[in-house]
């Protein structure tokens, strides 16, 4: 992407407003707090897209939690393309052995990355492993994965904002919007 992103003009519509997102995050936080009461819970956020959701969700949870961060390479990334295999770019900083783990995702579409992560984390012997995602785009699913906490099911559109990017831009939008197709089809 060589053109300069325009955080206003490049958004064709607001799919989820800041208020809608915050209300849903509070709802999810309440549910998670109830479900994991009395248990050792670790939230594992997957960088970079889930950072805003993780930050808001952890503050809406009313029971003690630990947090950890992971980053996984993506197909097509220049740094890892030569290997042809997914890589853990940032691993957990603490053991999850015997702890209840909740993976916090911004969006689940194909399910490929999450499928890999789930298998990877299961190998670290957590007491349980569940999944929370703010956005679910089932139209793009290749690998079926059970989602325990789902914020919104969204249509098959390219969405940005609230952590989601296109070319590393738009993550700082406070809402989830639809990117104008001209932005990613414009050869300039």
């Amino acid at each position: 992407m060589t053109r300069r992103p325009d955080l206003t003009a490049d958004v064709s519509e607001v799919l989820l407003s800041e208020e809608q997102i915050q209300a849903k995050v509070l709802e999810l936080g309440r549910r998670i707090s109830d479900d994991f009461a009395g248990r050792e819970l670790t939230l594992v956020s997957v960088l970079k897209g889930s950072l805003p959701f993780m930050a808001d969700l952890m503050r809406s949870i009313t029971i003690p939690v630990q947090i950890d961060l992971m980053e996984v390479s993506s197909y097509g990334g220049t740094a890892t393309e030569s290997s042809g295999l997914v890589r853990i770019l940032k691993d957990l900083s603490s053991s999850i052995d015997g702890r209840h783990v909740l993976i916090v995702e911004d969006i689940i579409d194909t399910g490929l990355t999450l499928n890999y992560l789930v298998r990877y984390l299961r190998g670290k012997n957590p007491a349980s492993l569940q999944i929370c995602t703010l956005l679910d785009k089932p139209a793009r699913r290749l690998v079926e994965i059970a989602i325990d906490y789902r914020g919104f099911e969204i249509p098959d559109q390219f969405v940005i904002g609230y952590g989601l990017d296109y070319g590393e831009a738009y993550r700082n939008l406070r809402f989830v919007g639809v990117l104008r197709p001209e932005v990613y089809t414009d050869p300039d």
Binding site: Y75, L85, L112, V143
Partner: protein, 207 residues
């Protein structure tokens, strides 16, 4: 836990379409086990029970027990594929299968920043079925990764045949590839043969 074990030593099957090779690379990247066209489903019979038509989904993901069928034909051309899929679901209701249309595949590659590749692999331009007639001239340009020489020599066309309906030479070629050749060896060999063919002014079609 080593999720990457054995991925690099899997022989490269003879994909009928370059888009299938790309999807295989994506599955490999995310350590999703797959088999290429492992099963053929009879879907149409005559009164005596003779199989008239079959359907071989492109991929089977054994750990997930799901088949994937990839079609990169333009939407208006997928009617036959949709009919086969409906028939398969009627006859084999326990079989889980997903159909990826051209738009799905394009979205998948867009997600990974490979929109240009999506354009090259979808629609008529991406068809690589072994041809019925010899192309008139040499092939220009580089050979896409994973594409076989025979595939590269093919004329663009509607890939409406399934594995069981392909010509015997293709099947024999597929069997040879299943032996021990690694993916990188296959690519190098195909590229070398393409270069040789281009120098001699033409490419022999496999059919």
């Amino acid at each position: 836990m080593d999720l990457d074990a054995d991925l690099d030593i899997r022989p490269a099957p003879g994909f009928a379409h370059a888009s299938e090779a790309e999807l295989a690379r994506i599955l490999d990247f995310y350590a999703v086990a797959w088999e290429y066209e492992p099963r053929t489903f009879p879907i149409l019979f005559d009164r005596s029970g003779t199989v008239l038509e079959s359907f071989s989904p492109d991929f089977y993901l054994p750990e997930l027990d799901v088949y994937l069928e990839l079609t990169t034909l333009k939407q208006r051309l997928v009617r036959k594929k949709n009919r086969k899929l409906r028939r398969l679901r009627e006859l084999y209701p326990d079989v889980r299968i997903k159909l990826l249309y051209a738009r799905d595949f394009r979205a998948l590659l867009f997600k990974y920043g490979k929109l240009a590749l999506a354009d090259a692999l979808t629609g008529a331009d991406g068809q690589t079925t072994p041809p019925k007639v010899r192309p008139p001239g040499p092939i220009a340009g580089p050979l896409p990764v994973g594409m076989t020489l025979a595939a590269a020599a093919a004329e663009p066309g509607d890939r409406t045949t399934d594995r069981v309906a392909r010509d015997p030479s293709h099947r024999a070629d597929h069997g040879r590839r299943r032996a021990r050749r690694t993916r990188s060896e296959a690519r190098a060999r195909a590229a070398s043969r393409l270069a040789t063919a281009a120098e001699s002014g033409g490419v022999e079609a496999s059919a």
